[in-house]
């Protein structure tokens, strides 16, 4: 149960979609102290002395990646804030990766990701909003929490969520073995050895570390939409990618693990934050239909919220056939697909492709505008809001994973330093508590069940 009202908590609070400016909110006793470590105000004296609500500009130092970004911070140093506690709003450029980097940095400084509705709850408890307002918010949250957790879990672990449950199970078994040794010393049962204990912990921790790395690579925590540009070689994908990334709010970053075959960039499309992915990298390889079809089944495509399928205007007839086959392949994956006809400036005399929703030439501003509109319509606004909430849940899940890994590492080093089993049990329990925040709690009864089914207890 993590509802401590004194914890310092944070969450993205700018409305979903508004990519122009992002706001991150922090509330709790150590707000000022933590920000003072990260923030270099232009006017240091003002930052340190002013007690009432005040605006400060300066530079925020991020730790992961190491980066300095200009921000403006609205600070309520004492209590006259929305939550009735010390509070701050970091206002900055609304780029999802940057927002995420700020959140990650805050988490590193023991600012806990807020639970849904936690700001509202604090606000109510301090008398800032009335019951009716609070009820409205909490009601929505209550309905969404369970679904969201499920979805976040799927996103977090992808096809690996089963692994996470397995890890929880093996941790339960491990704790049961440990507890049996503590509670049933008089029994004639075999207890787990320290080296076995360490091996089992390390293998759990390895899997969790992989999962965490994987989750980070997926870049899920800010909730931007993934749009993949795909199509036959020479369908004009790269030109389209380049044209779209010239949007001024784009920040091109290379994603670890995916750079070989994909190029990605972040753009804002009618207010929706989008991660745009170009599959042009495939073209350096063999251009067989088999190979491309195989690519279509890769994770990167499966996770896309929208695939923009480019069919060039100047397709040769055998290429047309290939094009249709690949589209069939793509349809099998239940993907949301936007069919467009590229290189429309070459269209003189050829028959327009009837299945395409719009014609695009990178040289035609109007057509590009209409493409963006089509993309935003296909993604749908409601979906985005939902996505973003899930994103916040996912960020909490990542946090929990990290904590679980820490606790396990503590247990391993404790065991190596000959700490008593009663101490190791504290760490293992703590790891289970953190996993429990993602997967549902583990109770003492679960441990006892396991003990009694494995060991013959009963002196």
């Amino acid at each position: 149960m993590n509802l401590d009202l004194d914890d310092t908590i944070t969450a993205l609070s700018s409305p979903p979609g508004a990519a122009q400016r992002g706001i991150i909110r922090i509330s709790g006793a150590s707000t000022f102290e933590i920000l003072s470590r990260l923030f270099e105000p232009d006017n240091k004296e003002k930052w340190n002395s002013v007690k009432r609500a005040s605006q400060h500009t300066g530079v925020l130092n991020l730790s992961e990646p190491v980066l300095e970004i200009p921000v403006s911070i609205m600070l309520w140093k004492e209590n006259r804030s929305y939550t009735g506690q010390p509070m701050a709003e970091i206002q900055m450029i609304g780029s999802p990766p940057l927002l995420e980097a700020v959140l990650t940095t805050l988490h590193r400084h023991s600012v806990r990701p807020a639970r849904p509705g936690e700001f509202t709850l604090r606000s109510f408890l301090s008398g800032r909003i009335d019951l009716v307002q609070a009820e409205a918010v909490i009601g929505v949250i209550d309905a969404n929490t369970q679904n969201e957790l499920k979805e976040a879990l799927t996103q977090l672990a992808g096809g690996l969520s089963g692994n996470l449950i397995e890890i929880q199970q093996s941790m339960i078994h491990l704790l049961a073995d440990l507890e049996a040794g503590l509670d049933f010393v008089e029994e004639d049962i075999e207890f787990v050895s320290q080296s076995e204990f360490q091996d089992r912990l390390i293998s759990c921790s390895d899997v969790l570390k992989d999962l965490l790395q994987d989750a980070r690579n997926r870049n899920i925590s800010t909730g931007q939409q993934k749009v993949v540009i795909a199509g036959l070689p020479n369908a004009g994908k790269s030109s389209l990618f380049n044209a779209l990334s010239q949007n001024e709010s784009a920040i091109v970053t290379e994603q670890a693990g995916t750079t070989r075959d994909y190029l990605s960039t972040f753009i804002s499309c009618h207010g929706i934050p989008i991660e745009l992915i170009d599959t042009a990298g495939w073209e350096n390889e063999e251009k067989s239909i088999m190979k491309i079809a195989q690519h279509l089944r890769e994770e990167q495509i499966k996770q896309a919220d929208l695939v923009v399928w480019c069919s060039a205007t100047d397709l040769l007839s055998h290429e047309k056939e290939m094009n249709l086959k690949l589209i069939e392949e793509l349809k099998k994956q239940n993907q949301s697909i936007l069919y467009i006809q590229t290189k429309s400036d070459l269209a003189s005399g050829t028959v327009p492709l009837e299945f395409c929703i719009c014609k695009v030439s990178t040289k035609n501003k109007q057509e590009m505008e209409s493409l963006l509109k089509n993309i935003s319509t296909s993604l749908g606004n409601e979906e985005i809001i939902h996505r973003q909430m899930t994103g916040m849940t996912a960020s909490r899940c990542q946090e929990s994973l990290e904590q679980a890994i820490n606790a396990i590492d503590q247990a391993v080093s404790g065991s190596r330093n000959f700490a008593g089993d009663e101490i190791l049990a504290i760490e293992v329990r703590s790891a289970l508590d953190h996993l429990g925040a993602i997967l549902g709690s583990v109770y003492t009864d679960d441990i006892l069940d396991r003990i009694f089914s494995k060991f013959c207890i009963g002196k």
Partner: protein, 614 residues
């Protein structure tokens, strides 16, 4: 015939381990108390194994003692073998256990009850409860007697509608050779209490003259036995050994051949028994890969040759028990004095209780001990003490005694019972306590004696002895915090596992001169070595304290809160937690539910958990 009338403040029904502590506590707090038992010769009887304490249970005995209870002093006086279990583990796991001279234990307990001012021991059989407007006002006893009282504590053990099984044979009664009561169960059901049935069992007892101990392994007591009670300086009595033998394939074969005659397997018993205390027939079936199970032969006293066969609890028929015993090494010619049996009895699911152990539907009526679905003398005694205290505090219109989970195993015990209920007989394990490192046997006095002193449960002698001890501990701390060594304090140095007071004495004459008790020295050592973890657990507790301190009004209507999930509404209105901490521990309640409750409770009480807006 004229009905005899008696007037008391508090009545305790049943003089087992729960009843004795309840009655003593009540009388010590100044209430005029009567302890009613079906048989005055069975006060403080040990129905099953002749031992007190063990892992987690030993800690409970220490807590009872720290609150001025009697169990620790009685076992110190009448114990015949003392061992500190888990010595190889850290101090938080050390657990005292002792074999008792069963009869001596009973007599000592009875004597102490007889001597207690304000307390009357009466031989009576209860017929019914007298209730007026959902409030208990007394009880009716057999033979035209009525006891009037302001509160009644029921500690009836396994005696409610008790049936004993030995093979196909069934006898009414809660303990071999004794009776049962049907009328109390019926009264309770009529009042609206839910009752369920549990099963427990006990092994056969042998005549030691017929045991060949040379074929068994000797298990002696500790060389320097440690007393349970803070008030016992040392244990000087001679110790008696236990003996270890084991079952074998032949024994298992006998059992397998006769499973159809075992009440647990023939369907004759279908109530739930404890998984941590399975019958030998259960062990053989469920762990068929094991070819042997250990058996402890434990003496039942100094003036008897009766031996308790710990490890082979059974309800198999007599002839099978004979065959089984004779197949065991060392017991080839052993005579069974009493056969093992299983007993089925009524208990009242404890979610029907407030954390004070008062029932939710009848004011002034308290349940303690096995009637709440627990097992164990220690668990029973602890509940008895808490029920006794709370019954008196309510009469005095004072705040009840509700121990937190981080304060005592007794807190864990009662919170588990009233919050989660039980689905098998409940026994304490250290793994049930989140803050195990804080709930050690060695600091029980420091945790609870101050509470006992405040309430008046603790006599003057203990209070002054405790104050001296606490001063010693502080003196010890003062010295090791002040003196320096290797660039740090002696306290820092003492954090190393290999360092103790003797090491420090070699370093500093001031430490050598330090005149404090060895108990106090040991206390400082333990606290210093666990310091990091104690700090961490204390910080966790402080965090939870906020939520824990949000009280839920007694009349709170969960069903009227649309934002709560239906499951949460139903569960919470059944348990009716006293605060949000307890609400959060009800199974299936999520943090979102708690957030919703916070909002409504805040609104009702205008209670702010934050010190915002000074």
């Amino acid at each position: 015939m004229k009905t005899s009338q008696y007037e008391y403040d508090i009545l305790v029904v049943g003089a087992g381990h729960a009843g004795c502590e309840a009655a003593l506590a009540s009388a010590r707090l100044g209430a005029k108390t009567a302890l009613l038992t079906m048989n005055c010769d069975m006060v403080g009887a040990m129905s099953c194994n002749p031992a007190i304490g063990g892992v987690a249970k030993g800690q409970i005995v220490r807590e009872i003692d720290a609150l001025g209870g009697e169990m620790g002093r009685v076992i110190d006086e009448t114990g015949i073998q003392f061992r500190m279990l888990n010595r190889g583990k850290g101090p938080a796991m050390h657990s005292p256990r002792a074999q008792a001279d069963k009869k001596a234990y009973q007599f000592s307990m009875k004597f102490r009850i007889e001597k207690q001012e304000n307390l009357t021991l009466k031989q009576e059989t209860v017929e019914g409860l007298i209730i007026e407007n959902d409030r208990i006002t007394g009880i009716q006893v057999k033979g035209e007697g009525v006891y009037h009282a302001k509160a009644v504590i029921l500690t009836t053990g396994t005696f409610l509608k008790a049936v004993m099984h030995v093979g196909e044979a069934q006898t009414e009664g809660g303990r071999a050779g004794e009776g049962t009561t049907r009328t109390v169960s019926d009264s309770l059901t009529r009042l609206g209490f839910e009752l369920e049935r549990f099963k427990t069992g006990t092994p056969c007892r042998l005549n030691g003259r017929t045991i060949d101990f040379s074929k068994t392994e000797l298990q002696p007591g500790d060389e320097n036995p440690q007393p349970f009670s803070f008030m016992t300086d040392e244990l000087t009595q001679p110790q008696m050994p236990c003996y270890l033998t084991a079952t074998n394939e032949k024994v298992h074969e006998v059992i397998r051949q006769n499973l159809d005659r075992a009440p647990m397997y023939s369907g004759q018993i279908d109530s739930t028994g404890p998984r941590y205390c399975p019958s030998i027939e259960d062990k053989v079936v469920r762990f068929s890969e094991r070819d042997s199970h250990q058996i402890f032969l434990e003496p039942e006293g100094r003036t008897t040759l009766e031996y308790y066969c710990n490890g082979i609890s059974t309800s198999l028929p007599r002839d099978v028990q004979d065959q089984m015993v004779h197949s065991i090494v060392g017991l080839e010619n052993a005579e069974i004095m009493r056969y093992g049996y299983a007993v089925e009895y009524d208990f009242a699911p404890p979610t029907q209780l407030h954390p004070t152990l008062e029932t939710k539907i009848i004011e002034g009526l308290y349940f303690a001990g096995q009637i709440n679905g627990t097992t164990g003398y220690e668990e029973a005694a602890g509940q008895g003490l808490i029920a006794g205290v709370n019954a008196v505090l309510k009469l005095k219109k004072e705040e009840p005694l509700i121990l937190d989970r981080n304060q005592a195993y007794l807190g864990v015990l009662i919170d588990d019972l009233v919050t989660k209920g039980v689905d098998e007989p409940y026994r304490m394990f250290t793994s049930r306590a989140e803050y195990r490192l804080l709930l050690r046997h060695d600091n029980a006095d420091r945790r609870l004696t101050p509470i006992g002193m405040r309430l008046g449960l603790v006599d003057q002698e203990r209070a002054s002895r405790f104050q001296k001890y606490e001063e010693d501990v502080q003196k010890g701390y003062e010295v090791i915090r002040r003196l320096r060594y290797q660039g740090g304090s002696l306290e820092d140095f003492m954090k190393r596992p290999e360092v103790n007071w003797n090491t420090l004495s070699e370093l500093s004459p001031e430490v050598t001169r330090l005149d404090i008790s060895s108990l106090a020295k040991r206390q400082v050592e333990i606290e210093v070595q666990y310091a990091g973890y104690i700090r961490r657990q204390t910080a966790e507790i402080a965090k939870l304290q906020k939520v824990q301190s949000l009280k839920v009004p007694e009349s709170f209507d969960y069903l009227a809160i649309p934002q709560l999930r239906i499951e949460a509404r139903q569960k919470l209105s059944k348990i009716r937690p006293v605060n949000l901490g307890q609400a959060g521990r009800v199974s299936g309640i999520t943090p979102a539910d708690i957030a919703v409750l916070m909002i409504y409770i805040k609104d009702r009480d205008k209670f702010s958990p934050q010190s915002s807006e000074g």
